[in-house]
């Protein structure tokens, strides 16, 4: 009787193992839907050809900060592809799901592509918005997301701050004044970058959308170049959205190998081509050259050089009681 039961249990478990499908969950920031829809299909095909195993990748999108908090609270991400390193650091510190030195594990500080912040305006640019100083003028309505929840909004804020410092002899008080004026012109704060695009492009609110470069291009593609146009400011920030494995989740799911390959494939020729095609600035020279026409050359400041890194920038500007809380009252 005991032997029979052991055989019954073992058979049941073996049957279950044979039927197992590899599933990954990629928790990403708001505007990467189109990128990962295309990339996931390409990776699944690559992995099937290489290993013979089918893999299904599910996506979750939202404001980068919110997404990071969701993973901390139990969302079982195998990989995260967020807007800024600080949000991934939060997952490491609060939930201990990955090591503190995660950023060293992949090339270019685990950033397979970059982006920046540009302006999307109505066709004809009726308010003649050419640079950051036009955005703070009275009568100009600005659309951007909430830097408390959106990674893109934090890059935007810092780009504006960097411009204000550059044009005011690095006077912090004037920069604060500049940022205050900017957010006075913001009537709606969405939680994520995609929400802001909806506000501007679909709800037709505002004169200018401060957008991820890729988001601006996607808006042109979707709504037509007869509706909007992109204005590149004189200065912006080099946005480096990183990617990484969520070690403990992947280990528990038995997906570490596939998840690692999923991230590495972003650096492959195909991965870089897909990034460029979706208006992200590829790291590879070949892809960068291929898609160079999509990307205007402009002065780009970096988080490290201009703000001494994300930890300091977060503490100074976006933490509770930081400068954003001081200048913006909902």
């Amino acid at each position: 009787m005991k032997t029979f039961l052991k055989i019954l249990l073992a058979s049941s478990l073996a049957l279950s193992a044979a039927a197992k499908e590899i599933k990954l969950l990629n928790v990403s920031y708001d505007p990467t839907r189109e990128l990962y829809a295309e990339y996931n299909a390409a990776f699944a095909k690559y992995w099937q050809a290489r290993s013979g195993d089918p893999v299904t990748i599910s996506q979750s999108h939202g404001g980068s900060g919110k997404q990071a908090q969701s993973v901390v609270n139990g969302l079982e991400a195998d990989v995260v592809t967020l807007a800024l390193a600080y949000d991934i650091d939060a997952i490491s510190q609060q939930a201990k799901l990955l090591p503190a030195d995660w950023q060293k594990r992949l090339p270019n500080n685990s950033t397979p592509y970059t982006s920046t912040i540009v302006f999307l305006v109505r066709k004809g640019n009726p308010k003649q918005i050419k640079d950051w100083n036009d955005v703070v003028k009275p009568g100009v309505t600005v659309v951007t997301a909430n830097p408390k929840t959106s990674g893109g909004a934090r890059w935007t804020y810092l780009a504006a701050w960097a411009y204000a410092l550059e044009t005011n002899n690095h006077d912090e008080a004037k920069a604060k004044e500049f940022i205050t004026k900017l957010y006075k012109n913001v009537p709606v704060l969405d939680t994520g970058a995609r929400g802001s695009t909806v506000t501007f492009a679909q709800r037709e609110i505002g004169d200018v959308l401060l957008a991820w470069e890729n988001e601006a291009h996607l808006a042109l593609k979707e709504f037509g170049t007869d509706k909007f146009e992109i204005v590149t400011p004189s200065l912006s920030i080099l946005a480096e959205p990183p990617v990484t494995l969520v070690d403990k989740n992947a280990k528990r799911h038995g997906t570490t190998e596939v998840a690692n390959e999923y991230l590495k494939y972003l650096y492959s020729d195909e991965g870089q081509d897909i990034a460029g095609k979706n208006f992200y600035r590829p790291r590879s020279e070949a892809a960068a050259a291929k898609y160079a026409a999509n990307f205007t050359q402009l002065k780009l400041v970096t988080i490290d050089a201009e703000f001494s890194g994300w930890a300091k920038a977060q503490k100074t500007h976006f933490a509770d009681g930081g400068i954003f809380d001081q200048i913006f009252q909902p």
């Binding site: 139990g74 309505t141 709606v188």
Partner: protein, 511 residues
């Protein structure tokens, strides 16, 4: 003419007072004409040539001024209106978008909030992600037993709290269920259920703890939904609850249900104590088939049949014998005991049970039947025997108010609400059962003068389901005996001297 001039001057002045301030607010053109009306022209319209010339001049100035005002109004009016409309349009869009965002935020907060529900199923609390679910249910049964045959020996009429159970259930991480059920209804508090259950799949589950052994069909039916106050004589031969673990599942939505378990082992009709009474184990297994469960044919959907059994071994222990060392009637009076004239009987050796069983439900009609064999090796001193007792029952019901009957009870379509002419659901029920003691039991292992060799019981009743949670029932049971009833006053002979006629009533609250 002077009147006309006066009217002209008044109109010009009045018009200028309305138009000039508005124009000033909109940055009136630098060349706006200023009209000066001499005082004598308004006060003294005497009409000499100097005055006429001046009046003519004034008139020309006013006309020019009016023309300018008209021109400006035409230029700015529509543009102002368009700008205002656009501004308002943007404000409306902003408000609508803010509302959308607020609704999204509220939905996100609601998703994260725990849920609390109170309803016919009791109290249920669940975390937002459903990883933690807790249910509080309950069962209270207040019975009355009235024994008839006044003047002849009969049982004690009594009200009793038959069951009073809070039922704590829950699920952790979606796959791990638990249940804890203490009972306060008897003379002492007992733990009836205390188990955990892991659901790998509906067809493969593992249960461990104290729970009903998967054998008797009527025994497995939930306490609040049995047809009568007390289960039939068959239940005397099958185990109640025991401690162990069980692999079980429902295949293809319950077309085939199976269970196989290892338990401490418990005597017939017993509810196991919280630790084993000896060191052998008992295996229990059950297969139950509902071959047409997924069929569209309503007449066949609820046909079920199966077989269950146990096998174990007991070493010289009276606790291995039936509950109370004997068997009881519907009125819970003992009619058989292992009470030989001398010596003590103990269970010693193999004990196996087999129980084929079936039910059928179709609309308001219900039928349930089972047969049970309990084969037990016993010993008294140097004497040993293999005794096989059997029992069977057939019961049926008819819901009079049109609701469907089922193994899990009756739910009234029109809950009790007399103010609106609703009375709940009514069900007629009837049952016949027999229990036969192995003839080899007598006289060595039981006194034929005091224990019956068989009992036959038939019962009829009416169940009134006021709503999903409250039920009232009344029934009559008559149990007759074969044998027993001897001259001695030793129990259980008293019971077996005449048939037991009992009226049962119950008020039940279950949630």
């Amino acid at each position: 003419m002077k009147t006309k001039l006066k009217q002209l001057i008044v109109a010009a002045v009045a018009g200028a007072q309305f138009t000039l301030p508005a124009l000033a607010a909109d940055s009136a053109p630098a060349n706006a004409t200023q009209v000066q009306i001499p005082a004598y022209a308004a006060a003294d319209p005497s009409g000499n040539s100097a005055e006429a010339a001046e009046i003519k001049s004034l008139k020309q100035q006013v006309e020019a001024l009016v023309q300018k005002v008209n021109a400006l109004e035409q230029q700015r009016g529509p543009a102002d209106q368009a700008a205002t409309i656009q501004d308002l349009d943007q404000k409306v869009r902003v408000l609508a978008r803010q509302r959308e965002n607020d609704q999204d935020a509220a939905a996100t907060v609601a998703k994260a909030a725990p849920k609390l529900v109170i309803g016919p199923g009791g109290l249920s609390a669940s975390s937002a992600d459903s990883n933690f679910v807790f249910n509080l249910k309950g069962l209270v049964q207040v019975d009355n037993r009235s024994f008839l045959n006044e003047g002849i020996v009969r049982g004690s009429d009594s009200f009793l709290l038959r069951r009073a159970r809070p039922i704590f259930q829950g699920t952790l991480y979606k796959d791990f269920d638990f249940q804890f059920t203490p009972d306060f209804g008897g003379s002492s508090v007992q733990i009836f259920d205390a188990y955990g259950n892991y659901r790998y799949r509906p067809w493969l589950q593992l249960r461990a703890g104290k729970f009903k052994v998967p054998v008797g069909l009527e025994q497995l039916q939930s306490d609040p939904v049995t047809a009568f106050n007390e289960r039939s004589l068959v239940t005397g031969l099958v185990p109640n609850r025991d401690i162990g673990f069980q692999l079980w599942g429902d295949i293809n939505g319950g077309v085939l249900s199976y269970a196989v378990g290892f338990f401490n082992g418990v005597g017939d009709g017993r509810n196991a104590a919280n630790q084993d009474f000896e060191d052998h184990r008992e295996i229990a297994a059950r297969l139950f088939v509902q071959p047409f469960k997924n069929s569209q044919n309503l007449a066949l959907q609820n046909i079920g049949f199966g077989i269950a059994g146990t096998w174990g071994n007991v070493s010289s222990n009276s606790t291995g014998l039936a509950n109370g060392n004997g068997f009881v009637t519907d009125g819970q009076q003992q009619f058989f005991a292992y009470n030989p004239a001398a010596g003590t009987v103990v269970a010693n050796g193999d004990h196996w049970r087999l129980s084929p069983q079936a039910y059928y439900y179709y609309g308001p009609l219900s039928l349930l039947g089972e047969y049970a064999i309990s084969d037990q090796q016993v010993r008294k001193g140097a004497l040993a025997a293999d005794l096989q007792n059997t029992a069977w029952e057939i019961s049926g019901g008819l819901v009079l108010t049109g609701e469907n009957a089922s193994f899990t009870g009756v739910t009234p379509l029109h809950p009790f609400d007399p103010r609106n002419g609703q009375w709940g659901a009514f069900q007629l029920v009837a049952r016949y059962a027999e229990l036969d003691i192995d003839k080899a039991t007598f006289p060595l292992f039981s006194n034929p003068g005091t224990s019956a060799t068989a009992a036959q019981a038939w019962s009829v009743g009416l169940n009134w389901y006021l709503n999903k949670n409250i039920r009232v029932n009344a029934s009559y049971s008559r149990t007759t005996f074969t044998g027993g009833g001897g001259a001695g006053t030793t129990a259980p002979a008293i019971v077996t001297r005449q048939p037991e006629d009992t009226i049962f009533t119950r008020v039940q609250l279950a949630f």
